[in-house]
Protein backbone atom coordinates (compact mmCIF):
# COMPACT_ATOMS: atom_id res chain seq x y z
CA UNK A 1 0.00 0.00 0.00
CA UNK A 2 1.29 3.46 -0.86
CA UNK A 3 2.11 5.73 2.04
CA UNK A 4 -0.55 8.21 0.97
CA UNK A 5 -3.22 5.50 0.76
CA UNK A 6 -2.22 4.28 4.18
CA UNK A 7 -2.49 7.79 5.51
CA UNK A 8 -5.94 8.17 4.02
CA UNK A 9 -7.05 4.91 5.59
CA UNK A 10 -5.61 5.96 8.96
CA UNK A 11 -7.54 9.24 8.76
CA UNK A 12 -10.74 7.40 7.91
CA UNK A 13 -10.28 5.08 10.86
CA UNK A 14 -9.85 8.07 13.17
CA UNK A 15 -13.04 9.54 11.75
CA UNK A 16 -14.87 6.28 12.36
CA UNK A 17 -13.61 6.17 15.93
CA UNK A 18 -14.76 9.75 16.43
CA UNK A 19 -18.17 8.72 15.17
CA UNK A 20 -18.62 5.41 16.97
CA UNK A 21 -16.55 6.12 20.07
CA UNK A 22 -13.24 4.87 21.36
CA UNK A 23 -14.36 2.08 23.59
CA UNK A 24 -14.56 -1.61 22.89
CA UNK A 25 -18.26 -1.42 21.95
CA UNK A 26 -17.24 0.62 18.92
CA UNK A 27 -15.05 -2.17 17.59
CA UNK A 28 -17.67 -4.01 15.52
CA UNK A 29 -19.21 -0.90 13.91
CA UNK A 30 -15.73 0.39 12.98
CA UNK A 31 -14.65 -2.94 11.51
CA UNK A 32 -17.94 -3.30 9.63
CA UNK A 33 -17.47 0.13 8.07
CA UNK A 34 -13.90 -0.66 6.99
CA UNK A 35 -15.01 -4.00 5.59
CA UNK A 36 -17.73 -2.30 3.55
CA UNK A 37 -15.37 0.28 2.07
CA UNK A 38 -12.20 -1.76 1.56
CA UNK A 39 -13.50 -5.35 1.25
CA UNK A 40 -11.10 -6.55 3.92
CA UNK A 41 -9.54 -5.58 7.22
CA UNK A 42 -5.80 -5.34 6.77
CA UNK A 43 -3.17 -5.82 9.45
CA UNK A 44 -2.54 -2.10 9.23
CA UNK A 45 -6.22 -1.45 9.97
CA UNK A 46 -6.19 -3.84 12.89
CA UNK A 47 -3.16 -2.08 14.38
CA UNK A 48 -4.67 1.38 13.90
CA UNK A 49 -8.02 0.39 15.38
CA UNK A 50 -6.29 -1.31 18.32
CA UNK A 51 -4.26 1.84 19.02
CA UNK A 52 -7.36 4.01 18.99
CA UNK A 53 -9.39 1.72 21.24
CA UNK A 54 -6.48 0.97 23.55
CA UNK A 55 -6.53 -2.79 23.02
CA UNK A 56 -4.02 -5.30 21.66
CA UNK A 57 -4.20 -5.86 17.89
CA UNK A 58 -4.60 -9.58 18.58
CA UNK A 59 -7.96 -8.74 20.15
CA UNK A 60 -9.00 -7.13 16.89
CA UNK A 61 -7.70 -10.07 14.88
CA UNK A 62 -9.61 -12.46 17.11
CA UNK A 63 -12.86 -10.60 16.42
CA UNK A 64 -12.21 -10.29 12.67
CA UNK A 65 -11.60 -14.01 12.33
CA UNK A 66 -14.71 -14.95 14.33
CA UNK A 67 -17.32 -13.33 12.10
CA UNK A 68 -18.11 -14.66 8.65
CA UNK A 69 -18.66 -11.19 7.16
CA UNK A 70 -15.36 -9.74 8.40
CA UNK A 71 -12.31 -10.71 6.37
CA UNK A 72 -8.60 -10.48 7.04
CA UNK A 73 -7.91 -11.42 3.41
CA UNK A 74 -8.99 -9.22 0.57
CA UNK A 75 -12.19 -10.35 -1.15
CA UNK A 76 -14.00 -9.22 -4.26
CA UNK A 77 -15.84 -5.96 -4.71
CA UNK A 78 -18.98 -8.02 -5.16
CA UNK A 79 -19.32 -10.83 -2.66
CA UNK A 80 -21.90 -13.36 -3.75
CA UNK A 81 -23.20 -15.45 -0.91
CA UNK A 82 -25.40 -18.34 -1.91
CA UNK A 83 -27.57 -19.89 0.79
CA UNK A 84 -26.78 -23.56 1.28
CA UNK A 85 -29.18 -24.31 4.11
CA UNK A 86 -31.85 -26.96 3.82
CA UNK A 87 -34.76 -25.08 2.24
CA UNK A 88 -32.61 -23.51 -0.48
CA UNK A 89 -30.81 -26.83 -0.84
CA UNK A 90 -34.14 -28.53 -1.58
CA UNK A 91 -34.87 -25.82 -4.15
CA UNK A 92 -31.87 -26.82 -6.25
CA UNK A 93 -29.26 -24.42 -4.98
CA UNK A 94 -26.61 -26.78 -6.41
CA UNK A 95 -27.57 -25.91 -9.96
CA UNK A 96 -27.31 -22.21 -9.19
CA UNK A 97 -23.94 -22.84 -7.56
CA UNK A 98 -22.59 -24.60 -10.64
CA UNK A 99 -23.87 -21.83 -12.87
CA UNK A 100 -22.16 -19.20 -10.73
CA UNK A 101 -18.91 -21.15 -10.87
CA UNK A 102 -19.18 -21.53 -14.63
CA UNK A 103 -19.96 -17.88 -15.24
CA UNK A 104 -17.15 -16.61 -13.04
CA UNK A 105 -14.58 -19.34 -13.64
CA UNK A 106 -13.89 -19.72 -9.93
CA UNK A 107 -14.97 -22.11 -7.21
CA UNK A 108 -16.71 -21.28 -3.95
CA UNK A 109 -14.27 -19.69 -1.54
CA UNK A 110 -12.35 -18.02 -4.36
CA UNK A 111 -12.09 -14.51 -5.82
CA UNK A 112 -11.78 -13.69 -9.52
CA UNK A 113 -8.25 -12.58 -10.52
CA UNK A 114 -9.54 -9.09 -11.36
CA UNK A 115 -10.78 -8.74 -7.78
CA UNK A 116 -14.36 -8.11 -8.80
CA UNK A 117 -16.22 -11.17 -7.56
CA UNK A 118 -15.98 -13.57 -4.64
CA UNK A 119 -18.12 -16.66 -4.26
CA UNK A 120 -19.08 -17.79 -0.77
CA UNK A 121 -21.58 -20.07 0.87
CA UNK A 122 -23.95 -18.55 3.37
CA UNK A 123 -26.00 -20.21 6.05
CA UNK A 124 -29.73 -19.50 6.07
CA UNK A 125 -30.45 -16.06 4.61
CA UNK A 126 -34.05 -16.02 5.85
CA UNK A 127 -35.53 -16.33 2.37
CA UNK A 128 -36.47 -19.98 2.74
CA UNK A 129 -39.91 -19.59 1.15
CA UNK A 130 -38.38 -18.00 -1.95
CA UNK A 131 -35.22 -19.99 -2.61
CA UNK A 132 -32.72 -20.40 -3.93
CA UNK A 133 -31.57 -17.12 -2.40
CA UNK A 134 -28.31 -15.25 -2.55
CA UNK A 135 -26.84 -11.99 -1.38
CA UNK A 136 -24.73 -9.74 -3.56
CA UNK A 137 -23.07 -7.57 -0.92
CA UNK A 138 -26.16 -6.28 0.94
CA UNK A 139 -28.70 -6.92 -1.78
CA UNK A 140 -30.85 -10.02 -1.65
CA UNK A 141 -32.01 -12.00 -4.68
CA UNK A 142 -34.65 -14.70 -4.47
CA UNK A 143 -36.01 -17.43 -6.74
CA UNK A 144 -32.62 -17.44 -8.46
CA UNK A 145 -32.55 -19.44 -11.67
CA UNK A 146 -29.89 -20.20 -14.30
CA UNK A 147 -30.94 -17.27 -16.42
CA UNK A 148 -31.10 -14.94 -13.46
CA UNK A 149 -27.50 -15.75 -12.51
CA UNK A 150 -26.04 -14.12 -15.60
CA UNK A 151 -28.41 -11.14 -15.27
CA UNK A 152 -27.27 -10.61 -11.69
CA UNK A 153 -23.59 -10.80 -12.67
CA UNK A 154 -24.17 -8.51 -15.63
CA UNK A 155 -25.84 -6.02 -13.31
CA UNK A 156 -22.76 -6.07 -11.09
CA UNK A 157 -20.39 -5.59 -14.01
CA UNK A 158 -22.39 -2.68 -15.35
CA UNK A 159 -22.47 -0.95 -11.99
CA UNK A 160 -18.75 -1.54 -11.38
CA UNK A 161 -16.99 1.74 -10.78
CA UNK A 162 -20.29 3.58 -10.75
CA UNK A 163 -21.90 2.34 -7.58
CA UNK A 164 -20.79 -0.41 -5.25
CA UNK A 165 -24.17 -2.14 -5.31
CA UNK A 166 -26.17 -3.65 -8.14
CA UNK A 167 -29.50 -1.99 -8.63
CA UNK A 168 -32.86 -3.69 -8.57
CA UNK A 169 -33.31 -7.00 -6.88
CA UNK A 170 -35.11 -10.22 -6.14
Amino acid sequence: MLATEQQRLATEIVELADHYGRDRCALMPILQAVQQRYHHISEFTMQEVANLLGIHPVEVYSVVTFYAFLKAEKIGKFVIRLCRTISCDMQDKDKVARQLENELGIRFGETTPDGKFSLEWANCLGMCDQGPALLVNDQVFTHVTFEKVSDILEGCRRSFGVHPMPQGGH
Binding site: R24, M28, P29, I86, Q130, Q139
Partner: protein, 400 residues
Protein backbone atom coordinates in the same frame (compact mmCIF):
# COMPACT_ATOMS: atom_id res chain seq x y z
CA UNK B 1 -39.90 -4.73 -0.78
CA UNK B 2 -43.41 -5.46 -1.89
CA UNK B 3 -45.92 -7.72 -0.22
CA UNK B 4 -45.25 -10.48 -2.69
CA UNK B 5 -41.78 -10.79 -1.28
CA UNK B 6 -43.11 -10.70 2.27
CA UNK B 7 -45.33 -13.63 1.44
CA UNK B 8 -47.77 -13.20 4.31
CA UNK B 9 -50.16 -16.11 3.81
CA UNK B 10 -52.39 -15.91 6.83
CA UNK B 11 -53.26 -12.90 8.93
CA UNK B 12 -54.13 -13.92 12.46
CA UNK B 13 -55.89 -11.73 15.00
CA UNK B 14 -52.87 -10.11 16.66
CA UNK B 15 -49.76 -9.20 14.69
CA UNK B 16 -51.15 -9.17 11.18
CA UNK B 17 -54.64 -8.38 12.38
CA UNK B 18 -56.54 -5.70 14.18
CA UNK B 19 -54.06 -4.18 16.60
CA UNK B 20 -53.27 -0.61 15.60
CA UNK B 21 -49.78 0.67 16.17
CA UNK B 22 -49.49 3.24 18.93
CA UNK B 23 -52.40 2.02 21.09
CA UNK B 24 -50.17 -0.01 23.39
CA UNK B 25 -47.72 2.76 24.13
CA UNK B 26 -50.53 5.25 24.72
CA UNK B 27 -52.02 2.96 27.36
CA UNK B 28 -48.62 2.18 28.88
CA UNK B 29 -47.70 5.81 29.55
CA UNK B 30 -50.82 6.11 31.65
CA UNK B 31 -49.89 3.13 33.80
CA UNK B 32 -47.49 2.51 36.65
CA UNK B 33 -44.41 0.43 35.79
CA UNK B 34 -45.63 -2.43 37.97
CA UNK B 35 -49.01 -2.36 36.24
CA UNK B 36 -47.38 -2.74 32.82
CA UNK B 37 -45.40 -5.74 34.02
CA UNK B 38 -48.50 -7.28 35.62
CA UNK B 39 -50.38 -6.91 32.38
CA UNK B 40 -47.65 -8.68 30.43
CA UNK B 41 -47.33 -11.36 33.09
CA UNK B 42 -51.07 -11.95 33.24
CA UNK B 43 -51.21 -12.32 29.49
CA UNK B 44 -49.06 -15.44 29.76
CA UNK B 45 -46.83 -14.17 26.95
CA UNK B 46 -43.77 -16.36 26.53
CA UNK B 47 -40.61 -15.71 24.52
CA UNK B 48 -41.14 -16.35 20.82
CA UNK B 49 -37.52 -17.05 19.96
CA UNK B 50 -38.12 -20.67 20.89
CA UNK B 51 -37.10 -21.00 24.53
CA UNK B 52 -40.48 -19.80 25.82
CA UNK B 53 -39.39 -17.95 28.95
CA UNK B 54 -42.28 -15.92 30.42
CA UNK B 55 -41.78 -12.35 29.24
CA UNK B 56 -43.39 -10.69 32.26
CA UNK B 57 -41.10 -12.60 34.61
CA UNK B 58 -38.04 -11.53 32.65
CA UNK B 59 -39.13 -7.90 32.68
CA UNK B 60 -39.88 -8.05 36.39
CA UNK B 61 -36.41 -9.37 37.21
CA UNK B 62 -34.79 -6.49 35.34
CA UNK B 63 -37.23 -3.96 36.79
CA UNK B 64 -36.36 -5.02 40.33
CA UNK B 65 -32.73 -3.91 39.99
CA UNK B 66 -32.25 -0.39 41.28
CA UNK B 67 -29.43 0.83 39.07
CA UNK B 68 -29.22 3.76 36.69
CA UNK B 69 -28.33 1.94 33.45
CA UNK B 70 -30.47 -0.85 32.05
CA UNK B 71 -30.91 -2.03 28.50
CA UNK B 72 -33.68 -3.37 26.30
CA UNK B 73 -32.25 -5.51 23.53
CA UNK B 74 -34.29 -6.70 20.60
CA UNK B 75 -32.84 -9.91 19.22
CA UNK B 76 -33.16 -9.60 15.44
CA UNK B 77 -30.38 -12.06 14.74
CA UNK B 78 -32.83 -14.35 13.03
CA UNK B 79 -30.52 -17.14 11.94
CA UNK B 80 -32.37 -20.36 12.66
CA UNK B 81 -32.66 -22.29 9.39
CA UNK B 82 -36.16 -21.97 8.01
CA UNK B 83 -37.05 -18.85 10.01
CA UNK B 84 -37.92 -15.58 8.32
CA UNK B 85 -40.88 -14.15 10.24
CA UNK B 86 -38.78 -11.49 11.99
CA UNK B 87 -37.69 -10.17 8.59
CA UNK B 88 -41.36 -9.80 7.69
CA UNK B 89 -42.20 -8.10 10.99
CA UNK B 90 -39.28 -5.70 10.68
CA UNK B 91 -40.19 -4.87 7.11
CA UNK B 92 -43.89 -4.31 7.60
CA UNK B 93 -44.46 -3.83 11.33
CA UNK B 94 -41.25 -2.18 12.56
CA UNK B 95 -43.29 0.42 14.45
CA UNK B 96 -44.96 -2.27 16.52
CA UNK B 97 -41.57 -3.81 17.38
CA UNK B 98 -40.09 -0.45 18.39
CA UNK B 99 -43.24 0.27 20.35
CA UNK B 100 -42.77 -2.99 22.25
CA UNK B 101 -39.17 -2.01 23.01
CA UNK B 102 -40.31 1.41 24.26
CA UNK B 103 -42.95 -0.15 26.50
CA UNK B 104 -40.33 -2.56 27.84
CA UNK B 105 -38.03 0.40 28.52
CA UNK B 106 -40.75 2.13 30.49
CA UNK B 107 -41.58 -1.05 32.37
CA UNK B 108 -38.07 -1.93 33.52
CA UNK B 109 -36.77 1.63 33.85
CA UNK B 110 -34.38 1.65 30.91
CA UNK B 111 -33.50 4.60 28.71
CA UNK B 112 -31.70 2.73 25.97
CA UNK B 113 -32.83 0.10 23.54
CA UNK B 114 -30.63 -1.73 21.07
CA UNK B 115 -31.85 -3.67 18.07
CA UNK B 116 -29.27 -6.26 17.05
CA UNK B 117 -29.88 -6.88 13.36
CA UNK B 118 -28.19 -9.80 11.64
CA UNK B 119 -25.67 -8.83 8.97
CA UNK B 120 -27.63 -10.77 6.35
CA UNK B 121 -30.51 -8.29 6.78
CA UNK B 122 -28.46 -5.13 6.22
CA UNK B 123 -30.82 -4.23 3.39
CA UNK B 124 -33.44 -3.49 6.07
CA UNK B 125 -31.22 -0.98 7.87
CA UNK B 126 -32.10 2.20 5.96
CA UNK B 127 -35.82 1.49 6.28
CA UNK B 128 -35.53 0.82 10.01
CA UNK B 129 -33.45 3.98 10.57
CA UNK B 130 -36.16 5.94 8.78
CA UNK B 131 -38.85 4.48 11.06
CA UNK B 132 -36.78 5.45 14.11
CA UNK B 133 -36.30 9.00 12.79
CA UNK B 134 -40.05 9.32 12.27
CA UNK B 135 -40.74 8.09 15.79
CA UNK B 136 -38.43 10.80 17.13
CA UNK B 137 -40.30 13.43 15.15
CA UNK B 138 -43.62 12.10 16.45
CA UNK B 139 -42.45 12.25 20.05
CA UNK B 140 -42.49 8.46 20.45
CA UNK B 141 -38.77 8.34 21.20
CA UNK B 142 -36.52 10.76 23.02
CA UNK B 143 -37.37 12.80 26.12
CA UNK B 144 -40.80 12.97 27.74
CA UNK B 145 -42.42 10.44 25.44
CA UNK B 146 -46.15 11.13 24.92
CA UNK B 147 -45.90 13.79 27.59
CA UNK B 148 -44.91 11.44 30.39
CA UNK B 149 -42.41 13.28 32.53
CA UNK B 150 -39.06 11.61 33.03
CA UNK B 151 -39.78 8.94 30.43
CA UNK B 152 -36.96 9.01 27.96
CA UNK B 153 -36.03 6.23 25.65
CA UNK B 154 -33.90 5.86 22.59
CA UNK B 155 -33.21 3.00 20.20
CA UNK B 156 -29.98 2.26 18.42
CA UNK B 157 -29.49 -0.33 15.69
CA UNK B 158 -26.36 -2.46 15.78
CA UNK B 159 -25.37 -4.90 13.08
CA UNK B 160 -24.23 -8.47 13.37
CA UNK B 161 -21.63 -9.87 11.01
CA UNK B 162 -22.72 -13.36 10.09
CA UNK B 163 -22.65 -15.56 13.17
CA UNK B 164 -25.60 -17.82 14.01
CA UNK B 165 -24.44 -18.24 17.61
CA UNK B 166 -25.06 -14.53 18.24
CA UNK B 167 -28.76 -15.34 18.39
CA UNK B 168 -27.95 -16.82 21.81
CA UNK B 169 -28.56 -13.93 24.17
CA UNK B 170 -25.21 -13.88 25.98
CA UNK B 171 -23.28 -14.30 22.72
CA UNK B 172 -25.32 -11.41 21.34
CA UNK B 173 -24.29 -9.27 24.29
CA UNK B 174 -20.64 -10.26 23.82
CA UNK B 175 -20.95 -9.20 20.19
CA UNK B 176 -22.47 -5.85 21.21
CA UNK B 177 -19.52 -5.33 23.50
CA UNK B 178 -17.10 -5.82 20.61
CA UNK B 179 -16.09 -9.36 21.46
CA UNK B 180 -16.19 -12.67 19.66
CA UNK B 181 -19.72 -14.04 19.88
CA UNK B 182 -18.93 -16.66 22.49
CA UNK B 183 -21.75 -17.43 24.92
CA UNK B 184 -21.23 -16.75 28.61
CA UNK B 185 -21.94 -19.04 31.51
CA UNK B 186 -25.39 -18.50 32.93
CA UNK B 187 -25.98 -17.52 35.74
CA UNK B 188 -25.54 -14.67 36.03
CA UNK B 189 -28.37 -14.04 33.59
CA UNK B 190 -28.55 -10.90 31.45
CA UNK B 191 -31.48 -9.56 33.52
CA UNK B 192 -28.90 -9.26 36.27
CA UNK B 193 -25.56 -8.86 34.49
CA UNK B 194 -26.07 -8.12 30.82
CA UNK B 195 -24.80 -5.52 28.37
CA UNK B 196 -21.90 -3.62 29.96
CA UNK B 197 -22.60 -5.48 33.18
CA UNK B 198 -26.02 -3.82 33.50
CA UNK B 199 -29.44 -5.47 33.80
CA UNK B 200 -30.56 -6.25 30.27
CA UNK B 201 -33.62 -7.89 28.82
CA UNK B 202 -33.10 -9.64 25.51
CA UNK B 203 -36.38 -10.31 23.71
CA UNK B 204 -37.21 -11.71 20.32
CA UNK B 205 -38.67 -9.38 17.66
CA UNK B 206 -42.02 -11.17 17.72
CA UNK B 207 -42.20 -11.15 21.52
CA UNK B 208 -41.79 -7.38 21.64
CA UNK B 209 -44.43 -6.84 18.97
CA UNK B 210 -46.80 -9.09 20.90
CA UNK B 211 -46.07 -7.21 24.14
CA UNK B 212 -47.20 -4.00 22.43
CA UNK B 213 -50.40 -5.79 21.39
CA UNK B 214 -50.97 -7.03 24.96
CA UNK B 215 -50.81 -3.46 26.24
CA UNK B 216 -53.11 -2.27 23.47
CA UNK B 217 -55.85 -4.81 24.00
CA UNK B 218 -55.26 -6.15 27.48
CA UNK B 219 -54.12 -9.44 28.96
CA UNK B 220 -57.60 -10.97 29.00
CA UNK B 221 -58.08 -10.46 25.27
CA UNK B 222 -54.64 -11.93 24.55
CA UNK B 223 -55.21 -14.91 26.85
CA UNK B 224 -58.42 -15.80 25.10
CA UNK B 225 -56.36 -16.67 22.01
CA UNK B 226 -54.30 -19.85 21.91
CA UNK B 227 -54.21 -22.49 24.66
CA UNK B 228 -54.03 -22.29 28.45
CA UNK B 229 -50.28 -22.77 28.57
CA UNK B 230 -49.46 -21.11 25.26
CA UNK B 231 -51.38 -17.88 24.94
CA UNK B 232 -51.66 -15.69 21.88
CA UNK B 233 -50.65 -16.35 18.33
CA UNK B 234 -47.45 -17.59 16.77
CA UNK B 235 -45.87 -16.66 13.49
CA UNK B 236 -44.82 -19.66 11.46
CA UNK B 237 -42.18 -19.44 8.76
CA UNK B 238 -43.11 -22.22 6.38
CA UNK B 239 -40.83 -23.54 3.66
CA UNK B 240 -39.98 -26.80 1.94
CA UNK B 241 -42.25 -29.19 0.08
CA UNK B 242 -45.58 -27.40 0.19
CA UNK B 243 -47.54 -25.38 -2.34
CA UNK B 244 -48.04 -22.28 -0.21
CA UNK B 245 -44.87 -21.41 1.70
CA UNK B 246 -44.65 -18.11 3.54
CA UNK B 247 -45.48 -16.56 6.90
CA UNK B 248 -48.60 -17.62 8.77
CA UNK B 249 -50.05 -16.24 11.96
CA UNK B 250 -52.11 -18.78 13.87
CA UNK B 251 -53.28 -19.13 17.44
CA UNK B 252 -50.96 -21.36 19.42
CA UNK B 253 -52.02 -24.96 19.69
CA UNK B 254 -52.94 -25.98 16.18
CA UNK B 255 -51.74 -29.40 15.16
CA UNK B 256 -49.00 -30.07 12.64
CA UNK B 257 -51.59 -31.79 10.44
CA UNK B 258 -53.81 -28.68 10.49
CA UNK B 259 -50.89 -26.49 9.58
CA UNK B 260 -49.94 -28.81 6.72
CA UNK B 261 -53.45 -28.50 5.33
CA UNK B 262 -53.22 -24.71 5.47
CA UNK B 263 -49.87 -24.61 3.69
CA UNK B 264 -50.93 -27.25 1.15
CA UNK B 265 -48.28 -29.68 2.24
CA UNK B 266 -50.45 -32.73 2.89
CA UNK B 267 -48.83 -36.07 2.33
CA UNK B 268 -45.53 -34.92 3.79
CA UNK B 269 -43.11 -37.52 5.08
CA UNK B 270 -41.86 -35.38 7.94
CA UNK B 271 -41.82 -31.85 9.25
CA UNK B 272 -38.83 -30.17 10.82
CA UNK B 273 -40.25 -28.09 13.65
CA UNK B 274 -37.98 -25.41 15.11
CA UNK B 275 -35.29 -25.33 12.45
CA UNK B 276 -31.94 -27.07 12.56
CA UNK B 277 -32.00 -27.01 16.36
CA UNK B 278 -35.55 -28.35 16.48
CA UNK B 279 -36.90 -31.83 15.97
CA UNK B 280 -37.89 -33.84 12.95
CA UNK B 281 -41.48 -35.01 13.40
CA UNK B 282 -42.57 -38.02 11.31
CA UNK B 283 -46.03 -38.29 9.74
CA UNK B 284 -47.22 -40.64 12.50
CA UNK B 285 -46.94 -37.77 14.99
CA UNK B 286 -48.62 -35.02 12.99
CA UNK B 287 -51.44 -34.91 15.55
CA UNK B 288 -49.08 -33.12 17.96
CA UNK B 289 -49.79 -29.49 18.65
CA UNK B 290 -47.51 -26.56 17.96
CA UNK B 291 -47.33 -25.05 21.42
CA UNK B 292 -45.02 -24.90 24.43
CA UNK B 293 -46.80 -27.95 25.88
CA UNK B 294 -46.65 -29.79 22.52
CA UNK B 295 -43.81 -29.33 20.06
CA UNK B 296 -42.27 -25.97 21.00
CA UNK B 297 -40.93 -23.87 18.19
CA UNK B 298 -39.50 -20.51 17.29
CA UNK B 299 -41.71 -20.81 14.24
CA UNK B 300 -39.57 -22.58 11.67
CA UNK B 301 -41.55 -25.22 9.78
CA UNK B 302 -39.76 -27.10 7.02
CA UNK B 303 -41.86 -29.62 5.14
CA UNK B 304 -40.24 -32.75 3.73
CA UNK B 305 -42.08 -34.55 0.94
CA UNK B 306 -42.01 -38.32 0.40
CA UNK B 307 -39.14 -38.01 -2.07
CA UNK B 308 -36.69 -36.52 0.43
CA UNK B 309 -33.68 -38.47 1.62
CA UNK B 310 -33.69 -37.90 5.39
CA UNK B 311 -30.01 -38.70 5.72
CA UNK B 312 -29.25 -35.87 3.30
CA UNK B 313 -31.38 -33.62 5.48
CA UNK B 314 -29.41 -34.69 8.56
CA UNK B 315 -26.15 -33.99 6.71
CA UNK B 316 -27.28 -30.48 5.80
CA UNK B 317 -28.12 -29.71 9.44
CA UNK B 318 -24.89 -31.16 10.80
CA UNK B 319 -22.80 -29.25 8.27
CA UNK B 320 -24.60 -26.15 9.47
CA UNK B 321 -23.68 -26.78 13.11
CA UNK B 322 -20.07 -27.73 12.39
CA UNK B 323 -19.79 -24.40 10.60
CA UNK B 324 -21.63 -22.33 13.21
CA UNK B 325 -20.34 -23.81 16.47
CA UNK B 326 -18.30 -21.07 18.14
CA UNK B 327 -15.75 -23.66 19.17
CA UNK B 328 -15.59 -22.56 22.76
CA UNK B 329 -16.72 -25.75 24.52
CA UNK B 330 -15.59 -29.26 23.71
CA UNK B 331 -18.91 -31.17 23.43
CA UNK B 332 -20.12 -28.84 20.70
CA UNK B 333 -16.79 -28.26 18.93
CA UNK B 334 -15.93 -31.97 18.59
CA UNK B 335 -19.37 -33.51 18.96
CA UNK B 336 -20.85 -31.93 15.86
CA UNK B 337 -17.86 -33.01 13.80
CA UNK B 338 -18.16 -36.57 15.11
CA UNK B 339 -21.88 -36.70 14.25
CA UNK B 340 -21.16 -35.41 10.75
CA UNK B 341 -18.49 -38.09 10.29
CA UNK B 342 -21.07 -40.62 11.46
CA UNK B 343 -23.42 -39.43 8.73
CA UNK B 344 -20.61 -39.99 6.24
CA UNK B 345 -20.35 -43.60 7.43
CA UNK B 346 -24.11 -44.08 7.21
CA UNK B 347 -24.09 -42.74 3.66
CA UNK B 348 -21.49 -45.30 2.70
CA UNK B 349 -23.37 -48.08 4.44
CA UNK B 350 -20.40 -48.58 6.77
CA UNK B 351 -21.91 -47.65 10.10
CA UNK B 352 -22.32 -50.54 12.52
CA UNK B 353 -25.23 -50.59 14.95
CA UNK B 354 -22.73 -50.37 17.81
CA UNK B 355 -21.20 -47.23 16.34
CA UNK B 356 -24.60 -45.68 15.71
CA UNK B 357 -25.50 -46.26 19.35
CA UNK B 358 -22.26 -44.57 20.37
CA UNK B 359 -23.14 -41.61 18.18
CA UNK B 360 -26.56 -41.36 19.74
CA UNK B 361 -25.04 -41.51 23.23
CA UNK B 362 -22.63 -38.77 22.13
CA UNK B 363 -25.58 -36.68 20.97
CA UNK B 364 -27.24 -37.07 24.36
CA UNK B 365 -23.99 -36.10 26.09
CA UNK B 366 -23.82 -32.97 23.94
CA UNK B 367 -27.38 -32.07 24.94
CA UNK B 368 -26.40 -32.30 28.59
CA UNK B 369 -22.91 -30.89 28.61
CA UNK B 370 -22.70 -28.14 26.00
CA UNK B 371 -22.37 -24.65 27.35
CA UNK B 372 -25.14 -22.94 25.42
CA UNK B 373 -28.31 -23.68 23.53
CA UNK B 374 -26.48 -24.21 20.25
CA UNK B 375 -24.58 -27.29 21.39
CA UNK B 376 -27.43 -28.46 23.58
CA UNK B 377 -29.81 -28.54 20.64
CA UNK B 378 -27.53 -29.29 17.68
CA UNK B 379 -27.89 -33.10 18.05
CA UNK B 380 -31.73 -32.87 18.09
CA UNK B 381 -32.21 -33.18 14.36
CA UNK B 382 -29.70 -36.03 14.05
CA UNK B 383 -31.21 -37.94 16.96
CA UNK B 384 -34.79 -37.53 15.83
CA UNK B 385 -33.97 -38.52 12.26
CA UNK B 386 -32.05 -41.62 13.36
CA UNK B 387 -34.86 -42.56 15.73
CA UNK B 388 -37.76 -41.97 13.35
CA UNK B 389 -36.23 -43.00 10.04
CA UNK B 390 -33.89 -45.83 11.02
CA UNK B 391 -35.26 -48.10 8.29
CA UNK B 392 -34.32 -45.46 5.74
CA UNK B 393 -30.82 -44.64 6.93
CA UNK B 394 -29.55 -48.05 8.00
CA UNK B 395 -28.42 -50.72 5.57
CA UNK B 396 -28.15 -48.33 2.66
CA UNK B 397 -26.73 -49.62 -0.57
CA UNK B 398 -23.12 -48.67 -1.10
CA UNK B 399 -22.82 -45.61 -3.34
CA UNK B 400 -22.00 -46.60 -6.89
Amino acid sequence: MDSQVLNIQNRGPILFGGVATGEGLKKAVGMRRSEIISEVRNSGLKGRGGAGFPTGVKWNLAAAASVESKYVVCNADEGEPGTFKDRVLLTEYADLVFEGMTIAGLAIGSHQGILYLRGEYRYLLARLEAVLAKRHLDGLLGEGILGREGFKFDIEIRMGSGAYVCGEETALIESLEGQRGEPRNRPPFPVDTGYMGCPTIVNNVETLALAAAVLARGAEWFKAIGTDKSTGTKLFSVSGDCLAPGVYEFPMGLTIAQLLTEVKGEGAKAVQVGGASGTCVPASQFAQTLAFEGVPTGGSIIVFGQQRDMLKVARNFMEFFVEESCGQCTPCRYGNVALLEGIGKLEQGRCSMTHLKELMALGETMQLSSKCGLGQSSPNAFLSIVKNFSDEILGRALPA
